[in-house]
């Protein structure tokens, strides 16, 4: 396919990574993005690092509720139920 479109630079590509992963790019933009990734090993590494960042973040667990705070809320719940 020889479409005469201006190619993305690496600097432009890094700004589109989230839109790409969120599926927010148009089909043409997606094609341009993937075309660049197909030819650029540095941007391939960059995209992989973003994916790794997301995966690592996903392994963090949410903060736990302190036992005191939980007890207070349950007390409030009992008060609400009887009130």
């Amino acid at each position: 396919m020889s479409v005469d479109v201006e190619q993305l630079s690496c600097q432009e590509l890094v700004e589109l990574v989230t839109d790409y992963l969120e599926g927010a790019l148009s089909p043409e933009e997606t094609a341009r993005f993937e075309d660049h990734i197909g030819r650029c090993s540095a941007c391939t590494i960059y995209l992989e690092q973003i994916r790794q960042t997301i995966a690592l973040t996903g392994r963090l667990t949410a903060d736990e509720l302190s036992p005191e705070a939980e007890r207070e809320l349950l007390d409030a719940f009992r008060g609400w139920r009887s009130g």
Partner: protein
């Protein structure tokens, strides 16, 4: 309303303490995180979250299920947090002046790229990213750096990345809970992930 949610509501309305405790455990950390976008300290954010649970209890009988229970709870939270922020004289996030899309912010420092006037490779990497060693990614120290990088983000970015990438919410859930446009949700997520990646990169390069 889903069957599970209808059952949960029935249990809550009937005064089922375990159902309430489970709901609190599921959402409390996220409530505090979201509250933290509006108020100035962690302690005030905790107060706002606690106040939200009381308001949820008081409003349960009026909840009609036009939105999901989660969305409803987070709307209550943002209302309480905004009121508190105004009372404390804080500027609200996401106001027109603070529209994140208006203030550009690069995902990667401009000096990592060749000049846009470069004769052959304009805007290409000058200093390319290097693949990260798998074994370094899973260490406790990398995890600490990651947590620190998320903590260091501006509150709005931290809330969005936490809900999306730690809690696993969909973009729609985050938009509804925070009252964000589709674009702003994405801009905030993009900036947050970009900064966290950069922090990991600078740590892993030294390691």
């Amino acid at each position: 309303m889903s069957v599970a949610e209808a059952e949960l509501l029935d249990a809550l309305r009937a005064g089922d303490e375990e159902a309430f405790a489970a709901l609190v455990r599921e959402h409390h950390a996220s409530l505090v995180r979201v509250a933290r976008m509006f108020v100035s300290t962690q302690a005030v954010a905790e107060e706002v979250a606690q106040e939200t649970w009381l308001a949820v209890l008081n409003g349960l009988d009026r909840f009609e299920g036009r939105s999901s229970l989660k969305t409803w709870i987070f709307r209550i939270l943002t209302n309480i947090a905004k009121t508190r922020a105004v009372r404390d004289g804080r500027t609200l996030p996401f106001s027109a002046l603070q529209d994140p899309a208006r203030v550009p912010e690069a995902a990667v420092d401009a000096d990592r790229f060749l000049d846009s006037e470069h004769p052959r490779w304009p805007g290409h990497w000058a200093l390319k990213p290097e693949a990260w060693p798998e074994e370094a990614l899973v260490t406790a120290e990398t995890r600490e750096r990651l947590t620190a990088a998320i903590e260091a983000l501006p509150a709005t970015q931290r809330a969005v990345i936490s809900l999306r990438d730690i809690e696993g919410w969909s973009s729609e859930e985050v938009r509804n809970a925070l009252g964000l446009s589709e674009t702003n949700q994405r801009v905030l997520l993009h900036r947050a992930r970009s900064k966290v990646r950069a922090a990991l990169e600078s740590y892993l390069e030294q390691a």
